[in-house]
Amino acid sequence: MPGLTPSQRINWQQELLGILIATTAVAVMTGVMYYLRLEQSPSSLPMLYLLVVTLAALFLGRLSAILAAVEAFFALNYYFVEPRYRLAVQQPAEWLSLCMFLLTAIVTSQLLAMQRARAEEAQRSKQETDALAEASWAVASEPDRDRALSKVLEQLASIVPLRSADLLVVDEHGQRHLLAHFGSPEHDRPDAQEYGGPDPVQLVLDERRAIGWDDTRHGDDALSNGPEPAAVYLPVIIEGTVLGVLHLDRNDRQELSQTQRRVIRSLVNYAAVAIQRDKLVQVEARAQALAEADRLKTALLSMVTHDFRSPLTSIKASVGTLLQEGATSDPGTQRALLEGVDQETDRLNRLVGNILDLSRLEAGAWRPKREMISLTEVVGAALDSFDADANARIQVRLDAKIEEIWVDLVQIVQVLRNLLENALKYSEPDQQVILTAVDRHNTIVIDVLDRGPGLPAGEEAKIFEPFYRGPSVTETSVPGIGIGLAICRGLVEAHGGTIGAANRDGGGAVFRVILPVSELSS
């Protein structure tokens, strides 16, 4: 009988108890009638027995009811019908009472069974509707693919008794990934491959057909040798593409009912939708990243034309002047022109370096190679790149408690150098720039403070965008600033830290870098 649930299965213990109760009930009824001497009103006797039979049919099931009917017939005949205390059927009416008892027993129990079956069917169909509704809701509302899939598997388990369920997908390289799992831990199951049979997952992927699914016995050779004869392997298909395989390890080998199969199919479709949606989201994200890269490239191009042309123009002009025949031989002018060329080439060099760094950061190719390095060494290496005049303007206050920090020396030195360079550039030549570092809750907080013009209100976060330029920054004054801060942010974030900027009390800006001190605190 397909579709039996455990509650319907014949339980002989329960049946035996029913028989016992029915027999007792008939005996008790007989005793009561005998005691009350009811044989004097013979018409009530069969009625009372009928009551017992009906009750037995209602509460104890068909077998007990039939037994009660037969017992009632004999008891009636033996105790109450003349000749008494002897089994002898003399009148056809007595056969009638037996027929009546049996008919009542059978009809009542049958009606009841039908009603019970209908109720159970309704219950099951509600369960299935609920499962489908839950799964549909999970897929629609859960943005995380694996969590949505886990919920679908949970619903599956409410439809079919399962030991475990796994959902595998195959990526474009043929690699399998377990996306969701339900039930007993996966490693408890022996590997089907060890049994020498064909790999059921591969079979499903190749043939796009389910295994262990229906009575066609398709793919049974892949299962019968395996450790899980009751397993089911279903292809997860969307728009004609096999995304993966759903593997169910069932509790028993009972064949699945039509409805169960329909519901499982629907649940597998939900899973397919969840997987497909995740794929589309990834495609979307990639497209966005490409668009962003494109935007950067455009910005880079326009910056290159601006920022490269102005130093090139001045170099060309200076050299042209120097090359001109019969030009001024005033050594002072010559020297000034040449110094200009020197400075402009440095500017171009910095620009090229920044662009290279930025492209490496954007490509994600610049992972920090971290080691424990003393804070003094990091700061020292940053200060070392400034000349004596600049160094005289930089005040350093380091927290003596910080000994070593876990950073990539080159990268954090570059962050400090960029911040200090900006601070020096944007403040008047007689103004001091302050660098402080303090330890705070297992992080190191580095501040660079200046007395420059400060930041335009509301733009504190924007200045870390690549190619950003403050409205007050003119084209010629400070080149390449838009890249420097973007590089700082990229490097600090690669360290698991944060960078921010704010206006300083009393004028100027403060740039704050927060870094994890050690491997443990990051």
């Binding site: 290279l356 080691e371 390095i373 003393s374 003094t376 060494e377 020292g380 020396l409 080159v410 030195v413």
Partner: protein, 227 residues
């Protein structure tokens, strides 16, 4: 002084020939690695300036072959991103590096430093090393700063001694660890960093603005006598 410049970029050769000649060097130029190796055997230069990135026989190969028979000081030229290249060349026996683009003044300073160093090393037995108010007595293993004796651990002294003997020359982590700790310690960069940090707190007035021991990020350290 004779300098051999090996670079495949004609404009750089032209500029360096002019610049170095003006500063009293006799300049020999080679436009390829092969030519450079030939000229090195013919001309016996006192110093070689070598571009790492060249077609054909590249700078590494030239460096390797030169070192098989010559101790001539070599300064390699590399791009900013080529830290690994610089380390490789230095570990192969190059004496210093310069990052392109560089100024002539920088190049001249480096050349002076490696030339001075190579003459200094010949008189390694000289017992006293002086730099500003730092004095290292190699024989008695005593270090004084402004006349006051500074207590160093034996490893710190060995480290300082090695760096002072190779003053103004960049020393890679590998070289320092190999020479001071031994060949089996060449990868233990952290030990080196800790000792450098300790040494700095003892001999530098402002450890965050070192006068003597400078960090060459990712490459190593340089003990500078000039300021």
């Amino acid at each position: 002084m004779k300098a051999l410049v090996i670079d495949d970029e004609p404009q750089i050769l032209r500029a360096l020939r002019a610049g170095l000649s003006q500063n009293g060097y006799q300049v020999v130029i080679a436009a390829s690695g092969e030519e450079g190796l030939d000229l090195a055997t013919l001309e016996y230069p006192d110093i070689v300036i070598l571009d790492l990135a060249m077609p054909g026989t590249n700078g590494f190969e030239v460096c390797r072959q030169l070192r098989t028979w010559s101790k001539v000081p070599i300064i390699v030229l590399s791009v900013r991103e080529g830290e690994d290249d610089k380390i490789k060349a230095l570990d192969m026996g190059a004496d210093d590096y310069l990052t392109k683009p560089f100024g002539l003044r920088e190049l001249l300073a480096r050349m002076r430093a490696v030339l001075r160093r190579s003459s200094f090393e010949e008189q390694e037995e000289e017992a006293l090393f002086n730099c500003d108010d730092l004095q290292v007595d190699f024989g008695r293993r005593i270090v004084t700063l402004a006349g006051e004796e500074i207590h160093l651990t034996p490893k710190e002294f060995d480290l300082l001694r090695f760096m002072a003997l190779h003053a103004n020359r960049v020393l890679t982590h590998r070289q320092l660890l190999g020479k001071v700790w031994g060949p089996e310690y060449t990868d233990d960069t952290h030990t080196l960093r800790v000792h450098i940090a300790n040494l700095r707190t003892k001999i530098e007035r402002q450890p965050e603005r070192p006068r003597f021991i400078h960090t060459e990020t990712r490459i190593g350290y340089r003990f500078r006598t000039d300021q």
